[in-house]
Symmetry: C2
Subunit: 382 residues, 2 copies
Amino acid sequence: MRLGELLLGLVIVWLAAKLAGEAMERVGQTAVLGELLAGVIVGPAVLGLVRESEILQVLAEIGVIILLFEIGLESDLSELLRAGLQSTVVALGGIACPFALGYALAVFWGKPALVAVFIGATLTATSVGITARVLSDLGRLQDAAARVVLGAAILDDVLGLVILAVVTGLVQTGVFSLATVALILAKALVFLVLAVALGIRFAPTLLVWVGRMRARGSLIVYAVLFCVLLAALSERIGLAAIIGAFAAGLILARTEPRAHIEEQIKPVADLFVPVFFVTVGMKVDPAALNPFGEGALGFALALTAVAVLGKLAAGLGVYRRGVRRWPVGVGMIPRGEVGLIFAGVGLANRVIDQTLYAAVIIMVMASTFIVPPWLKALYRRP
Amino acid sequence: MRLGELLLGLVIVWLAAKLAGEAMERVGQTAVLGELLAGVIVGPAVLGLVRESEILQVLAEIGVIILLFEIGLESDLSELLRAGLQSTVVALGGIACPFALGYALAVFWGKPALVAVFIGATLTATSVGITARVLSDLGRLQDAAARVVLGAAILDDVLGLVILAVVTGLVQTGVFSLATVALILAKALVFLVLAVALGIRFAPTLLVWVGRMRARGSLIVYAVLFCVLLAALSERIGLAAIIGAFAAGLILARTEPRAHIEEQIKPVADLFVPVFFVTVGMKVDPAALNPFGEGALGFALALTAVAVLGKLAAGLGVYRRGVRRWPVGVGMIPRGEVGLIFAGVGLANRVIDQTLYAAVIIMVMASTFIVPPWLKALYRRP
């Protein structure tokens, strides 16, 4: 009956994710918020309909790998490289300010240095997916501020992944030394540069061969195979699997059949990505949210404030005429999936406890939640 | 490192499946044959690159569920119901003859009655997928014989699933009584009829709601959710999960967005179906194939002969003018996935041992292998 149990679990996960996601979209929010809430509701915290299992966790991991592959596919490496000084200034500001503020807050709250670094790092990554989705929903993707914020968000997403690798390494070795930072940063950069350089050199030739294959479904299988291979390699050398998946997406984004790959990966992502967000929601322990105990609420609110202020400060880095600062700052706020991945890594490695984990989740949810109405309001009265 | 190991395992499974599948297509065979051989090669039998794990098995199960869902989606229930006397006669002959011959062979070979029933049942199901694919490759889908053989093969596929349920039940209760047969047959029929009747009544309304959803990917997620729900229910009442998946496909085949569902399920099937066939191949123990020991080769050859003769005999059921008997008989021969599922059920329930399992695999592979060139030859000189 194991198979039947797993299948019923999947049915509940999908149904809750789609219903809650739809409800959130209807009230002008993003579907991902609904998927997180769905996880909280069907998980052990509230209804206890689905319990965590190794197999569900693996399906969730496949989901987040596919998600980062898809984000990579939708990113433009040239745009990333030519993003210009303006995007870079905003991106660096959007990393430095939240990190400094988050670190300071955690130290002020009496946390150890390693935890403070982790909290600071968790605040750095902007979620390209959520930002792009909101701007697209508002029909503002071609706006000058939108271009700056997208360029900066893409940079922040990549740097956030490098920071994730650095912090994951720190957490696993347990030592905070500049040599470790340099080593991991170098490893991450060498891996990414090498993978992308070799990939861009040889992927087109390989895809010509794949294009000649007669067997059904060759393109999608070889594309996902490439993604999973880079994910496995990046995990093997001590980086997160999603970094390899993102690199694979960046590489295939520059190949000729990119549009076909994107089209065919979409239903696969539709099925597996929500499993990831639901399992993230399932990890929330509502006991940690109790405002009357020594719970997370106070810290969670302070963390959220710092997360918002830090990215708004990055908007001050706008120096070009004709680019409005507020939409840039607000557009950088959503943390989304990378913030959640940070939280998961921290919890798995026992750097943060359930209370801090809940605080991070609240920060991610709040920062995602406030952006759509805020941006909408900003674009209503210029 | 568990995740990294699983990811590398998937890379090997996909790479072997696609390379071997491509090679088989190139020499005029079907890709599924290559995927089976790939499993034998990368599995413990030869190279030992990938070992069986619970997670790989679950991914394979998802693969076979998606496959039967897809076959259901491509089947036409009305065509099935109106298949006409001609297809029914051929279909029943194609079940009775192989069953009788297989049963007789097994008894003659000294097997117990339960095993003999299982062997007979294993020979009954024609694989619609392989037959349709071969006829389509030959450009003969509109041929009179092709229509008869397709109708009969679809019927045999459904009856094969019912027989699978009956035999699975027999194997699990261990008793061969007419009451058991009737109960399981009734259960299977009631489930299928009820699911299909209710599904056809309510699915269109539900899909209208799904069509109004704003969240991305609603159609594919709800379609797969429906498939997995029926699979879980059919497993819960003691039938095979694939029966529910097939019923879900049949139901959605009659709805308006069928083409969209088919298009979106395709890449998902491309990724997961080969995992199933590779893991099937991985289960073959080459020691059982040793022709010098008390191996399976003698029985395997006899079983293959009986499998071919039994379905050729069904071709004699053709009474309509203008329908050639040979293409009908030969078109019924491929056993494909349902035969493999029988073998898996038999092995899992210890009804058949490694030797018989290998014989069934050889029979399935041989019956699949000979059909493309044979049909090609038949259509070359009419």
